[in-house]
């Protein structure tokens, strides 16, 4: 395996501006996400944090127009390197994604190789190229040692292995950006730590731009260069992660940090 290319000297920028997501209740529009503006650069990790229901996952879904039924994006624009783009066109080739629950994110009737073939085809890879790219991607996430992995069905793998496989699929298209929506929530602590290490290594070695959605400030402290805090559908506070941890401005941020400190104090 050749070492992955070094990060490009000029970072690419994915920017979401004033995203607004609405649903309809009794005929009236109810905003779920308001004025969400954030910027993701290659080689950098942006964390989107907030309590459950604060709109972080919806903001991510709005970025790629994969909102759940019943909700729609009513305002905002997405731009890549300063040029406005259609969110749907970003999927796969520009922005790869890792979902929260690895168990349900794989079709139980299809092997890992089948999934890789599909993802590769969506990214425009030829069949032979897809096979080689899959082997390379599996090696990159630490699943390269066992030659049986591509032929395994999802139910034959552990949650941690599946999450690795999903990250491998996300790497297949060599997209410059990766969106990970709570990638470690369904995993045990050991698997969590390994996945976070893996993500950090990918950002470092491949210059990926990582948007990580989480409610776990531990994950944020470990990975994120910059952090945006969401509450009630708005980004209430954002900036450099170290500064945010040192001087939290808003009560929502303080609450998340307090919960984090309480938990880590309990653990130690």
């Amino acid at each position: 395996m050749s070492p992955p290319a070094s990060p490009p000297p000029c970072p690419r920028v994915l920017r979401a501006e004033t995203l607004r997501v609405e649903t309809r209740r009794d005929g009236a529009a109810v905003p779920l996400v308001t004025d969400a503006t954030f910027e993701l650069r290659t080689g950098e990790v942006l964390a989107l944090v907030g309590a459950s229901g604060s709109g972080k996952s919806l903001a991510c879904a709005a970025l790629l127009d994969t909102l759940p039924p019943g909700t729609r994006r009513s305002a905002g624009r997405v731009s890549l390197d300063g040029v406005a783009v259609a969110p749907a066109a970003l999927r796969g080739r520009t922005v790869a994604s890792v979902l929260q629950a690895p168990r349900s994110a794989f079709n139980p009737l299809r092997t890992i190789a089948d999934h890789a073939g599909e993802t590769g085809a969506a990214a425009g890879l030829r069949r032979a190229g897809a096979r080689a790219a899959m082997r390379e991607a599996l090696a990159a996430v630490g699943l390269g040692d066992d030659p049986r992995v591509p032929d395994l069905y999802p139910f034959q793998m552990s949650g941690g292995m599946l999450q690795r496989a999903m990250i491998a699929l996300a790497l297949l298209a060599r997209a410059p950006f990766l969106v990970a929506d709570e990638p470690t929530t369904d995993l045990d602590l050991v698997a969590q730590a390994r996945i976070l290490d893996l993500l950090a290594a990918l950002v470092r070695d491949r210059g990926l731009g990582l948007l990580i959605v989480t409610h776990d400030m531990g994950v944020v402290a470990r990975l994120a260069d910059r952090t945006a805090v969401m509450a009630e559908g708005r980004i209430v506070e954002g900036g450099d992660t170290a500064a945010l941890f040192a001087r939290p401005d808003r009560p929502e941020t303080r609450a998340l940090l307090a919960a984090h400190h309480a938990l880590s104090a309990e653990a130690s």
Binding site: L64, T66, P69, R91, G92, R93, A96, S97, L99, A101, S104, A105, F106, N107, L109, R110, D114, E118, T119, A121, A122, A123, L152, Q156, M166, L169, A173
Partner: protein, 283 residues
């Protein structure tokens, strides 16, 4: 223990599929072979040998025109079940197509297609058959058309429901996020979930549709004499019911056996393929 070994051990045997499966395969084989498997020409009239009892040459005897009943039953399987196969192919194709489009696209397309289904659901098979036959004349093609037109809407609704359910799966969302096109997503991830229940349903309907074909032919609306067909045979034997009841019994028994075999097979398939039932039994 290797992974594949433990999986093989967990796979259940043929179980309840065995008996109805064997019967259905036998019936299907007779259907495929048709007249080739018949000991006599099913159309050969021999007025000197009318109403012969069972014998070695005519195991089930002969009918009012001296035709061999066993040969007519075997040849009739092809007519009846061939018509069912044609109707079923139309129904599944139409139902799968409309249901998939409605389920995948949703919105206005879905609403329009489902109202169309509602219209077809209101028309009973026999009424539709009578209309078609009144307009285009009697014949097997019209019977097949009538059965297909009065049944496809059920399949479309079921397929749509399954598609809507499968569309919410995370792996469908994952495929969308990976940039896969809707047709690819349908074939790769939705169809795999739609087909098993659809196969079970179609198998269950074979018997039901065989009754329609035989019933319409019995009424003189479908297959016309002298073509061997089970419903036609019963109709022809009706005149001699009080003197030669066996003439009615044999084709009746053939219909009953075929319906029973395919119903049992469909039940067993549904038990095997329906994920909710499989989950309940903890397999």
């Amino acid at each position: 223990m290797t992974t594949s070994g433990s999986l093989r051990a967990a796979r259940p045997g043929l179980g309840p599929l065995a008996v109805p499966g064997a019967l259905a395969v036998a019936i299907l084989l007779l259907t495929l072979l048709g007249p080739l498997a018949a000991p006599h020409d099913p159309l050969a009239v021999d007025l000197t040998a009318r109403f012969e009892p069972s014998s070695l040459t005519h195991p089930l005897g002969t009918d009012h025109l001296g035709r061999d009943i066993l040969s007519r039953l075997i040849a009739g399987a092809r007519t009846t079940l061939g018509a069912v196969a044609a109707a079923l192919a139309l129904v599944v194709a139409l139902g799968l197509g409309v249901g998939a489009v409605a389920g995948m696209l949703g919105g206005r397309t879905d609403a329009v297609l489902m109202r169309l289904c509602d219209v077809f659901l209101t028309v009973p098979t026999f009424v539709l058959a009578l209309f078609l036959i009144g307009a285009f004349g009697t014949g097997l093609v019209n019977v097949i058309a009538a059965i297909a037109l009065s049944h496809w809407a059920w399949y479309a609704r079921i397929v749509r429901g399954l598609v809507l359910e499968l569309k919410t799966r995370d792996y469908v969302l994952a495929a969308r996020i990976a940039g896969a096109a809707p047709p690819t997503i349908f074939v790769e991830h939705v169809l795999t979930g739609v087909l098993p229940p659809l196969v079970a349903l179609a198998t269950l309907d074979i018997g039901h549709m065989a009754l329609h074909v035989a019933g319409l032919s019995f009424l003189g609306l479908g297959v016309q004499p002298p073509t061997p067909e089970w419903g036609v045979m019963i109709n022809e034997a009706r005149a001699f019911f009080w003197t030669r009841p066996l003439l009615v019994v044999w084709p009746g028994l053939a219909i009953a056996l075929a319906v029973l075999a395919f119903n049992r097979l469909g039940d067993a398939l549904r038990d095997r393929l329906d994920p909710t039932l499989v989950a309940e039994r903890g397999l």
